[in-house]
Symmetry: C4
Subunit: 240 residues, 4 copies
Amino acid sequence: MYKERLTKLKEDVWRANVELVERNLVIYSFGNASGIDRESGIVVIKPSGVDYKELSPENMVLVHLNGVVETGQLNPSSDTRTHLELYKAFKDIGGVVHTHSRHATAWAQSKRPLPCLGTTHADYFYGEVPCTEVISDEQIKSDYEKETGTLIVDTFKNIDYHEMKAVLVACHGPFTWGKDPQEAVFMSDMLEEIARMNLMSVLLNPEAGNIKKTLLDKHYLRKHGEHAYYGQRSLPSSEV
Amino acid sequence: MYKERLTKLKEDVWRANVELVERNLVIYSFGNASGIDRESGIVVIKPSGVDYKELSPENMVLVHLNGVVETGQLNPSSDTRTHLELYKAFKDIGGVVHTHSRHATAWAQSKRPLPCLGTTHADYFYGEVPCTEVISDEQIKSDYEKETGTLIVDTFKNIDYHEMKAVLVACHGPFTWGKDPQEAVFMSDMLEEIARMNLMSVLLNPEAGNIKKTLLDKHYLRKHGEHAYYGQRSLPSSEV
Amino acid sequence: MYKERLTKLKEDVWRANVELVERNLVIYSFGNASGIDRESGIVVIKPSGVDYKELSPENMVLVHLNGVVETGQLNPSSDTRTHLELYKAFKDIGGVVHTHSRHATAWAQSKRPLPCLGTTHADYFYGEVPCTEVISDEQIKSDYEKETGTLIVDTFKNIDYHEMKAVLVACHGPFTWGKDPQEAVFMSDMLEEIARMNLMSVLLNPEAGNIKKTLLDKHYLRKHGEHAYYGQRSLPSSEV
Amino acid sequence: MYKERLTKLKEDVWRANVELVERNLVIYSFGNASGIDRESGIVVIKPSGVDYKELSPENMVLVHLNGVVETGQLNPSSDTRTHLELYKAFKDIGGVVHTHSRHATAWAQSKRPLPCLGTTHADYFYGEVPCTEVISDEQIKSDYEKETGTLIVDTFKNIDYHEMKAVLVACHGPFTWGKDPQEAVFMSDMLEEIARMNLMSVLLNPEAGNIKKTLLDKHYLRKHGEHAYYGQRSLPSSEV
């Protein structure tokens, strides 16, 4: 039972990592996707610095939520500890993705939250996508990757991670999450799209701010929550 | 007779929806094309939230102009009521397209009309492409998708929809139309192209305004209207 | 003899038109390439408004320098008279190309000449690429396409068309030329590349102006003219 | 022994030149890669002005560090003397690449160093990528290509070329290097990526400056140097 779940999870995580490349969200090996088996607390993640073409379900790495890596495997992604912090704080997410996708990273580097300028954004992100503070020297010097996770969690003190499945880490790049690795990949792709559109809108009109609450609610809630009326009902919520 | 027309229309609408993806105007399922059989008042439109790869002429949805959906079908696109308003107000159009194409949406999000900066634009759009007001709270709370249609129609109070087959809905994205679904797709593609060019021109020269009336007339009218002299005469007007 | 030259020219002009599409310089049928047989004064040009996939060496159109079209053919490109003016004024060019390529057109729409900001530009264009005045109402109302040619020729009163094989027509787009249709296509492609680079440079540094004369001379003249030392000697000058 | 090394080097240099085209870093023949056999002092480089499709390991050109070209070969790249200066000054590099890639060249033309705005940059370049002064008239008029090398070397007076494997030559474009031609190609590709991201960040926030030293050190040093902990250890340092 556990074995079967794990086999499927390794397959899903591998596929998510491959999809990041196919969707042009990752250059070289700048990115990683993971998934968690909540029952056992096992996180499956991409190995560090391995070429995407050599990835397979078999060489995905198993890590316990406490950080212990299963023996006899490749080293896990250097960002693993950030993923673990997110799984610990965001209790019911099932997948996490980190990329350096071009437009989302450009915003992260500008240290600006991504304003919600239109309905494309509002359909999937409930308001502006937050940008963290720049990580402190203390955090850099202690346990950098873990502290990057703490920084994200702190940023979400007053934000519901169910309605905002993305964050920009200042001077770094985006992290996204979802109920499984596939939804996390989807959120990364949508984030990149709106980062691209919104960059252009801001150049055209620097005063363009967040859309009003009524419009945001209308769009976000027609797709999400109990009164949703978009789609065919039987489709998964990540299906646009 | 009616049956044959409908079979062809379903084929045309399906093809138009597929073309939106192929022309890179639609990401995921952010977009929809429809067509109308004026004699029967039946509108054919894409189903809501279905993956493009699973679309076929058969699963296109039939909706009466009054909003009643034929039974036994998938749910129609969530934007259907906007399409219906356009068909009701713009009496002789045969197709409508809605996309979130990147550059046109960037302009819509900036809440600026698209100025007519050159002859590429003037060849197909007779002047600047209007941008609606931001939809009011009352409209959002009553019948949102229908009111989006009303908003567009109101914007065209003093504009001839035959000469301006596109609109930017503020904080949302573009709608285009034409004599059939294929022309509506073509207008969406041209709109995206000029939105892209004009964005760059405005960055290079923020003072660049609409071209003068003589040049606009020259270009628009050499392709359209009774004195047109472009092309081989036998080509449809949507053929550039 | 004349017949063989013409057969080759039709083939060359057809290939040039196809190459414009392959190089992504033309969307839909916004563009045209032509060539001239100087001995007979016959210009070969693309037919107007015909889909690129239906072009062939056989349906290229023959036009005399005086504007008379050979009978029994398709209508020539609506821009034909502009091409003819260029062939008449620029005595030893053999090919002309007109496109609405995105970045070059963006500059033309901004009504700014394209500054020479670097050596990529200096390798092929001897100084800034001029932008015409906006065409006058009189010119628009008389013989518009012919007058577009006059406008270009007037712009070159003090510029040597051998060293500057491109122009931006204000509010319209670029024209390029060369010793044959292939070189004219090459110049269109290079123009688009530098229009793209230079746009970004100008956004990064609005004060970046033309490079100094010594650097311009060094680059232009190491590739062109009698002291050229670039390449393998036997290569045609359009070969970079 | 020497013969075998040379055969491999010609293969490597040919492959590097082909990769530049495949990675979209070179348009037409604007670019060149070279490698050096340190023992014999022989540099292998692309011939000048030859179409990429006609390149082969066999037609790569052999040049001595002192500038003498082996007889019976094609002319070497016109930028050869710049490469030679770099090999002479940067004692342990094994490959050099020059491109006119779009975004890096846009920065070079703006005469601005590329600021280090984020961790994508910091992972591979230890601080901002320097931009040279504009080359002097004296240098242009003496031995231009050699002096371009001198200009680069002068720019690195206080910079360690092991930690900064790239430079922007003002009004020209980028040069990169590495332990072999492949690493030099990789650095060109990374440089183009960060030039692209950073351009957008600067448009979004003109005040965004270099990231702080602690963050730069953390990222650069976790991948490079004796305390590196990224990857699987057995991977070459150029493997991301």
